[in-house]
């Protein structure tokens, strides 16, 4: 029995699909890891992965299109484009994985109860 999803849920699930697609590629996962530390310039990212700027730009476009990263406006120099993570898509993905984690916590808890009851430690 699957309830109809509201349009806001549809938009949210598109975000999660995008996040998962974007993260399916190792270079993009690496870019995300770097941006977790701090914002980076596009050129820095290309250097970090030994890529030409156009090659890295393709990855950056995917990450921007899926809403994972955005430009950070700097006051010092408007020409320097700093890229940073957006939080919202990770919140949705983590909400999903949070459920998976809770599912397995419950299952492993049940396994622990069972195996320790079946094979109790000897009392001292």
């Amino acid at each position: 029995m699957i309830a109809d999803r509201s349009s806001s849920e549809d938009a949210a699930s598109d975000d999660v699909d995008g996040v998962l697609l974007a993260l399916a590629e190792p270079t993009r996962r690496g870019v995300i890891d770097l941006l977790k530390e701090r914002p980076h310039r596009a050129g820095e990212l290309a250097e970090a992965f030994g890529m030409s700027p156009p090659a890295m730009s393709r990855h950056i476009r995917v990450l921007r299109r899926t809403g994972l990263i955005e430009d950070e406006r700097t006051r010092e120099d408007a020409r320097v484009r700093m890229l940073r993570l957006r939080q919202e898509p990770f919140v949705l993905l983590h909400a999903w994985l949070d459920q998976v984690e809770a599912y397995w916590r419950d299952q492993l808890g049940s396994f622990k109860d069972h195996v320790e009851k079946k094979h109790p430690r000897r009392k001292r």
């Binding site: 993260l23 994985l97 396994f111």
Partner: protein
């Protein structure tokens, strides 16, 4: 713990690793949660069973003859006392789509640390119900259960357990 590809959960059980592995496999129907949320066919509850060894499978069996089954996945790694891995597919997966469950059994002296990783979420096709990040019915369909109200109860129980 959550990372970009999935989740990791671990528990320490106070038995040795070979025993933990053996009971995990042989007694799966005794410890696997019976709540429909944890089952694979809405409206039906069967017997959970591992066909052991390489080439084995994790099944939910609905009849005595073992012909009416839901195959959760094939066993990918069979290393008794050390490691178990199997595919994980629920009803709304396309042929060829799968996630993976990998379980390590680590001897820590007074017991065994059982570490479970459920990974491969980034490999699912876009629009797969399992990837619809919000709570509720899609998740239940992915796992195989049916009742949306159970999710709130379930999470309440997990939190109350203090895990």
């Amino acid at each position: 713990m959550i990372d970009n590809d999935g989740v990791t959960v671990s528990v320490v059980v106070e038995v040795d690793a070979p025993t933990a592995f053996d009971v995990f496999i042989s007694d799966v129907d005794l410890w696997w949660r019976k709540d429909p949320y944890f089952r694979f066919t809405p409206g039906r509850q069967g017997t959970m069973r591992f066909e052991p060894g390489d080439g084995g499978r994790l099944l939910e069996v609905y009849d005595e003859l073992g012909e009416d089954v839901f195959e959760v996945g094939r066993i990918l790694v069979w290393n008794p006392g050390v490691e178990l891995a199997f595919e994980w597919r629920a009803r709304n997966y396309e042929p060829g789509e799968r996630t993976e469950v990998r379980i390590g059994f680590e001897d820590i002296g007074y017991g065994t640390r059982v570490t479970l990783r459920h990974v491969g979420w980034s490999r699912l096709r876009p629009g797969h119900p399992a990837t619809h990040g919000l709570v509720g019915d899609e998740f239940h369909t992915m796992i195989g259960g049916a009742w949306s109200v159970r999710l709130r109860e379930f999470r309440g129980r997990v939190r109350a357990r203090g895990s």
